[in-house]
């Protein structure tokens, strides 16, 4: 992008009336950008500001707060601090984030990218395609897929899902996985779903490492682990930071997979997004639900600022 700046210079000098043309360009720039930024301002920052407003009211879908929402100050936020179910949802979201994204997707993605580096092309293509399909199918479909995969159990009237069939062939006890191990189930499902993104990101980062570097280290007697620890990881640490931030941001607003998989009313898997949805649309507390979604957004905004820092693009 630096190069572009330099390229513009001679052109600008070549224009006969630089001052007037600069004004014209600025007008044109504003004209071209206005529609896009208007839509962003109205429909992205709009809801954010609206969230800020209604989280200070008792707005609801029924009852007193429905017709004329009252200004209640920071009452919603005080209520959050005393809300055990909020802290439960917070804990669930954090466990889900660490388990499925930071550990599951990132570690597995890096491992897969490293292992796949020098394999046969056809093998890589097939394996890559399978992993990517898991990432690209719509959320709802992924939810149905996993509920069928985990279906059944000793007391279930439904036919056993594939996991229980596999477990049974090895003579192990069957489980109603989503009831017996709800957190583990959603963590594995989301790891399955999201690993492709991290894998692709790390694969393209690994391509940038000159092979001579690893060879030289190898000749100097560095083992596999030493090469990973002292050459590969330091060289891709920018990509690792980018990946961790982006999957954290994606997981933060995750709703559908867990909602479809668990029906959304299981306390042990109630993510913050599901909790705010239930507060707003099952208990009709729009004001309170908005206060929670505002908190999610604030965390997201902080992480997003970090992301820009990490990318360090020169504009």
């Amino acid at each position: 992008m630096q190069v572009e700046t330099k390229r513009v210079q001679p052109l600008r000098m070549a224009t006969p009336a630089p001052r007037r043309s600069r004004h014209k360009r600025l007008r044109l720039a504003i004209l071209f950008m206005a529609p896009a930024f208007l839509v962003i301002a109205l429909f992205m920052f709009g809801p954010a500001l609206w969230a800020l407003y209604i989280s200070f009211t008792n707005m609801s879908l029924t009852g007193a707060g429905a017709a004329t929402p009252q200004w209640v100050g920071i009452q919603n936020f005080v209520q959050i601090l005393h809300d055990a179910e909020f802290f439960n949802a917070f804990r669930v979201s954090l466990t889900y984030l660490v388990g499925s994204a930071l550990i599951g997707q990132a570690v597995l993605g890096l491992l897969l990218a490293m292992l796949m580096r020098h394999r046969q092309r056809a093998f890589k293509a097939v394996l890559g395609a399978i992993i990517i399909v898991a990432w690209v199918i719509p959320d709802v479909v992924a939810g149905f897929l996993w509920s069928s995969f985990l279906a059944g159990g000793p007391q279930s009237v439904l036919a056993p899902g594939l996991l229980n069939s596999i477990v049974a062939t090895f003579g192990l006890p069957q489980h109603a996985w989503l009831q017996d191990y709800p957190m583990a189930s959603i963590i594995v499902a989301n790891t399955w779903r999201g690993t492709a993104f991290s894998m692709l990101l790390y694969a393209s980062a690994l391509e940038g490492i000159p092979p001579e570097l690893l060879e030289a280290a190898s000749i100097d007697g560095a083992g596999l682990w030493a090469r990973i620890r002292y050459i590969t990881l330091p060289l891709i640490k920018g990509s690792i930071a980018t990946d961790l931030l982006l999957i954290t941001l994606a997981t933060l607003s995750d709703f559908t997979l867990v909602y479809v998989l668990t029906g959304g009313s299981n306390l042990s898997t109630e993510l913050l997004t599901i909790y705010q949805y239930r507060q707003a649309f099952q208990f009709y507390q729009i004001g309170y639900g908005s206060a929670i979604s505002l908190l999610i957004l604030v965390v997201g905004a902080i992480l997003s600022l970090l992301y820009i820092r990490v990318l360090r693009v020169d504009l």
């Binding site: 199918i137 709802v140 692709l200 705010q276 957004l297 992480l303 992301y307």
Partner: protein, 273 residues
């Protein structure tokens, strides 16, 4: 040394095959069940492969309405995003102006925000704008949430196209707008395709937004319809559910495969032509 390398290579293949199975196995059920007239939740090879599940859901009208709604949402989102992002990215790529740097940071910042968490206040906002239960309301939110990343992508694509071609068009008497439409856009076709596919899929696959904003049964897109239809019936016809899921997922799989590479380079800041 050679033996050792051979060994590590074999174990690498072995580990990869095991992971491959982990990723493959949950995908088997919808594929096999959709061709099985008497499908259950079990994964079984159908006694005879049949397209009856697909036929049934298509002929009894389960597919046409919801898929039509999904298409309306996805295509409108796509067209609006291409036009708005294309226009906005042009000055960001070609001109220098005072507030350009901060603006690019705002775009990058907005592209990473977990904006979908804002559906509840969006609902409240839409209630006062009379946009609840309208497709255009859903489209506008999709457009707004896809725009920052798409402007970013589009700007990077434009950056990789040399200025000389537009300059030549200007010398031949073309206006800025004409040069943009007839010279830059055709050259940026691959970039426009990526942005188009990306924004199409944002709308096609989303579940949360239409779940909350839309209420009328006849407006529901496939994502919500598949959930309300198959999720709320006691006796689910699993073969039909699988067929529906396959039909709904297929466009996403095909389109994503085309752009996933560009997408990953775009978010990791490596997309510089």
């Amino acid at each position: 040394m050679t033996i050792r390398r051979g060994l590590t290579s074999t174990s690498a293949y072995l580990i990869l095959v095991i992971f491959g199975l982990f990723f493959l196995v949950p995908l088997l059920w919808p594929i096999l069940a959709s061709f099985n007239p008497s499908a259950t939740l079990s994964v079984t090879i159908p006694a005879h492969f049949s397209l009856i599940n697909y036929q049934t859901i298509i002929t009894n009208g389960l597919v046409a309405g919801p898929f039509g709604n999904s298409l309306i949402l996805a295509i409108s989102t796509m067209l609006l995003v291409i036009i708005l992002a294309g226009l906005a990215a042009y000055p960001l790529s070609r001109y220098q102006f005072p507030f350009k740097g901060p603006l690019m940071y705002v775009i990058l910042f907005a592209s990473a925000l977990p904006i979908l968490a804002l559906v509840t206040p969006l609902y409240a906002l839409y209630a006062s704008l009379n946009l609840v239960d309208t497709l255009q309301g859903v489209v506008l939110f999709f457009v707004a949430s896809a725009l920052p990343f798409c402007i970013w992508l589009m700007k990077n694509f434009f950056d990789s196209i040399p200025h000389e071609l537009e300059e030549a068009a200007w010398i031949d008497g073309a206006s800025t707008f004409q040069a943009l439409i007839y010279v830059l856009f055709p050259l940026a076709a691959p970039g426009i395709a990526v942005v188009g596919v990306w924004s199409f899929l944002v709308a096609w696959t989303n579940f949360f937004v239409p779940l909350i904003i839309l209420q009328s049964q006849n407006l529901l897109p496939a994502s919500v319809h598949i959930y309300t239809f198959f999720g709320s019936y006691g006796q689910v016809n699993y073969g039909q559910l699988a067929a529906y899921a396959m039909l709904y997922a297929l466009p996403a799989v095909i389109l994503y495969t085309l752009v996933s590479r560009f997408f990953v380079r775009g978010v990791s800041g490596g997309l510089k032509g």
